[in-house]
Every structure is written in C-alpha cells, then in structure tokens.
Symmetry: C2
DNA sequence: TTGTATGCGTTATCAA
DNA sequence: TTGATAACGCATACAA
C-alpha cells in the first residue's frame, strides 16, 4: 500500500518507518513518509507481533467487578501505568466465578497477552487454576492468592485485627463481623484477622457473630437484619467492605439502633462514599491506585528479565464518627 | 506443534479443531484432539485474524475515567454484553483529554479493533477528530457527540429541565447550577436544559448563578463556596453530576445553610452514593448499564451489515429529601 | 480421506 | 543504497 504509492519496496518502507539504522536516500525517505502520512498508515500490530514472536503489549486484568469501588480504583492505577508504558489493558470482570475466570484466561491466551493481573479471585483455593501451564505469560496477583505468583499485598489480617482493636478500645465488648463468603481466600484471611483482633483484645470469639455476606451493600443489610431478627446482640461491628458496612448501618437504623452509641461500626477499603454518609464511616484504607500501578511495574520488570519480589503496602485507619464514642487514645 | 505430535498435517489439525465439515477418519481425529489437549493448544488469535482479514473480536472503550460512577456502571454494561458476544474490551481512560484520545485511537487502530465506543468525550466539538478516516472500524457514541456516528442517547436537555422544573415546583425562585466545563458538549447541552427549565418555570436566567466546575466533588464544593463567599444567594441548586451536588452540599453546610430548607438540591446520574448520604440526594437516573449493553448490540448489528439507528433512553427522577420541601404534586 | 501450497502484513536475512 | 524472499501461525483453495 504505502510501498507502491511511494514507489519503493516494502522493505524500504519498513526501514524508514522503523528508523532502522541503514542509509536511505533522503528523497526516497521523504516519499515514504509522505505516502504514509497521506494514507495515514498504521502498522498492523497483529502482523508485527506475529512476526516478532510474541509481545503484544497487552495486559489482561482480571477483577471481580469493575463497578465495585475497590476494583475501579485499582483498575485506574493499572490503566495509567500501563498506558504510560505503552501497554493496553483488557478488562475482564469475573464476578469471582471460576468459570468466567477460565473462559477469560482462554481468550487472553489466544490473544497472546504478555501478562495477566489477578485481583479479586482466589476462590476455592484456586482449584480451577491448579496444574495449569502458564507458559511465557507474566502473572501478578493483587491481594491474596494461592498460586505462586509475585504479589502486591497488604496485610489484610493485621488490618482487620486493628479495626477490631479500635472498636475494643472504644469500649465494644461483643463485636460482630460482616464477613465474606467462606470459599474466598480474602474473606478467610480477614476472618483470621477478626479472630486475632478479638483474642488480642481479650474478647471471646462467638461464631454466631460472624455474619457471612457477599460483601455487597444489599448483602450486608440482609445479614445484619437477619442477625437482629434472630435476637443477636452486639455493640460493635466490623465489615470486610465499606458497602457491607453501609448496608449493615441501614439495618441497624431500621431496627432503631444508633451508630456509634449502640453499635460502633467500621468498614474496610475506605471507599469514596465512606466519609460522605451519615454518620461518616470509619474505614481502613489501602493505596489501591498505587498498588495497581505497582502491579504493572512488576510486569515490566519481569519482562526485562529482572527478579521481582512481593510488594507490601501499609494500611491506614481512617477513623470517623461511625466508630468514635470517645477521644482516641 | 500439534500437527507433528498427532502425526497429521496442519491442515487436518485445523480442520478438526475448527470442525470443518469434511470427512476425517475417526482415528486421526482422536489423535489430533488428544495432542491438542495434551499441549493445551490454543489457536493464535493474531494469526487467525491476520489470515481471515480483520475481525479481532475486540472493542475499544474510550471513557473519561473508570473511577467515576457514571463510567464504571456504563463500562460494566459494555463488558457484560461484549463478553456474551465473544468480544473483548480494551479499556481507555481519556480524562477528556484530546491528546490521550488520539493516542489511544492510534493504538486501537494498530491493534485492529473491530469497533470503538466513545463515551465522555466530545471536547471542543471534537476538532481533533474531524476529517479523520475511520476505515472499517464501527463506531458508536454513548451520550452526546459531534461526529456522525450512531448514538446511544438520553435527553439530557429535558432531564436537566425537569430537574429545574421540580425545584421550581418546590418553591425555589433563584436556582443555581453546578455546570461543567464550557468546552464539553455534555455540559453545554445540560446547560441549555437548565435555561430551558428556568424559562418554562417563568424564572429569570442569571448568568452569575452558573457555577462552572469540572463535575468532580471537590470542584463542586469549591465553586459553591466561591459563590457563597461572593455573596450570591439562591434557594435551589441543580448539579450536572451527583458528585458535584455532594460537593455543593458540603459547601452549603459549611456556610450554615440547610438542605433542603434553605437550598433545595438535585444532582444528576443517580450514583450509588446518592441515596446514602445525608440528606439523601435527589437525582436523575439513566439506565447506564443497559445503555452500555445496547452500545455493544449496535456494534454487533453493524457487523452483521444491518442499519442501526440512534437509541434513546428515558431518564427518571429519583426524588429524595435533598430537594423535597413539600408533598409532590 | 488427507495433504501441499499460498497468502494475510510485517520484519529480518541475504543478495545485488 | 535498495530490494527480493523467507518466515511468524493459521485457514483455505486446490491437488491427490
């Protein structure tokens, strides 16, 4: 196309457009450039990747749900870093469904992605991913994962334990927990943190106070309502998700309970909503955007043949009215 | 690879794996299947697309910012529909920056995407996209756009006018507006709706009450604060965005004004947050998720050679405490 | 029923 | 300084 218009061979065109260090007459070069501009020619990335054997500059991002706060902030971090590095991001919402995860992996492999970022998976200990041949694809996980990939991590256990500690410090003695599904690794880890926090505070672990939910607002509301209806009592509540906390607070209000006076509440992930609701919700913040960016950096490093290590990030307690009954120590 | 392992020609392998309607001996077929399974072979989508001339089953999605509520709901709709149709979505955050938009388009074209969905662009009347050769790529726009592509649309003008009408009905006489940047088409259209609503209610248009912002929470807060500091008074406020409305409400509260008694407030987009804040925010809802899905449907139709028409969706007023001073008529 | 050869758009090797 | 040609992995027209 460009070649014939410029009256040159495709070889020459390729050389000019890729600035291959080979002497080319100025006139021919100009003609090629002109033709390319006029046709607004763009090299076919498919052909280039095929020929060069691999690199597509594409990253597959597997997340549970882009419309959940945790994930879209993370995603923005990934996308920015990817774009800056000349990579493109394929968005894959898995809803934590192993089937979807597998189907997406299949597509991503067919499309020859260079790398995959896992976030919000680790369901059923990743049985469905066991024994898989990952080939040359670079894989990074954000958050807990059972497979031996480099990870971008935050101490979820300590985070929830700290939340419990805070509630205890605020005078709570019976602390409930809006937890996540039992077969999600993240839930199990946070659950451990919950127990750990109780023990550290010298409080008893009451299995009944573990209110399992799917981490959504609606689910948090339902679980809490069910617990209250069943006559359960508690004076503190930590939710593994801000949305769950908000749902719980709705159920508490509906039952005539005051936050934080009757029940002090703290969430997790520090969603954008948290400071805006009434009362403002205490939460545990993670540097999600940065974590997304770092996941991409790790991929770049792996592509460069460097050894990468897990990266750990700190959490931060954002204490607000929903959990504050007395001045902080 | 698979061919040699199965002791067959690549032709046969291709035929078996693609179920080409050609007689093949059962034994050979089994061997091919076995080899493919053992190697867990996946056809190289790059090569397939190259050979078949085009179709990559990929959609480029250009949005302003995945971390903004409007866009991640829309995106989820796009993603679900795309996945169901065997398409893959490349996420492109443009931040409404024409430069980023152009750079992303370049990449998408190189990668031979089949289609592009524009949402949250239309900046400066899309000067940077004028006269462009779009080639065989199918383009659909969600929301207002200056270029002649099929669109998924909602009557933004009427929506904002209705919001103004509602405030007027609630007794507001001086209505301010947290608008968007002047060079964003969406802002201009909503601004028209604002004026139209004022006129319909027999209220005067006061240029001073147009408080320009970037549609973000922070921006809404700043604009409102500045207006109040300048001594402007108003008893109603419509924001082109829920986040802007929330920001505005913060500024109002800080100034000692009550919502809705002193200033009735209504937002737009009906974000997930809106019903949760205090007071719950009135807003105008669009079926964003569905709109995203329809955008994909339109692309599929275009691919099938069908003629597609613009699709219009209704808006819905969600009235809540922030704007309710009296029973609704 | 099976296989050989060609070409998709590129880049890299080799020859002129 | 330039160009013809092979090869990347695959699907298909054609041959056997």
């Amino acid at each position: 196309m460009v070649a014939e218009r410029a009256g040159a061979s495709i070889t020459t065109v390729s050389r000019v457009l890729n600035s291959v260090p080979v002497a080319i007459s100025a006139s021919l070069r100009q003609q090629v450039l002109k033709a390319a501009r006029e046709l607004d020619y763009r090299p076919n990335a498919l052909a280039v990747s095929l020929r060069k054997g691999g690199a597509t500059k594409t990253i597959g991002l597997l997340i549970a749900d882009i419309s959940a706060p945790y994930f879209h902030v993370l995603t923005r971090g990934v996308e920015d870093a990817a774009q800056a590095a000349g990579y493109t991001v394929v968005l894959c919402d898995t809803d934590r469904d192993p089937g979807k995860e597998l189907r997406y992996l299949d597509v991503l492999y067919r499309k020859q992605v260079d790398a995959i970022i896992f976030a919000g998976g680790a369901v059923d200990m990743d049985q469905h991913l066991r024994g898989r041949n990952w080939g040359p694809v670079k894989v990074v996980a954000v958050g807990p994962h059972t497979l031996p990939f480099p990870r971008v991590e935050v101490d979820n256990r300590a985070a929830i334990a700290a939340a419990v500690g805070h509630l205890a410090e605020q005078g709570c003695r019976r602390i409930a927990c809006i937890s996540g599904r039992r077969n999600w690794l993240i839930s199990e880890i946070r659950r451990e943190g919950f127990k750990q926090g109780l023990l550290a505070a010298g409080l008893a672990v009451d299995q009944q106070l573990d209110l399992e939910s799917s981490l959504s607002l609606e689910s948090g509301e339902t679980s809490t309502k069910r617990a209250l209806d069943a006559g359960l009592t508690f004076d503190g509540l930590v939710a593994f998700t801000d949305e769950g906390a908000i749902g719980a607070m709705r159920a508490l209000k509906a039952a005539g309970l005051r936050v934080p006076e009757d029940v002090a509440v703290i969430g997790c992930d520090d969603t954008r909503i948290s400071p805006l609701i009434e009362p403002p919700l205490s939460s545990i913040a993670f540097p999600l955007r940065q974590m997304g960016a770092v996941a991409v950096e790790m991929i770049l490093a792996m592509n460069a043949g460097l050894a990468v290590e897990d990266r750990h990030f700190p959490f931060e307690m954002r204490l607000r009215a929903s959990s504050l009954r007395r001045p902080i120590a």
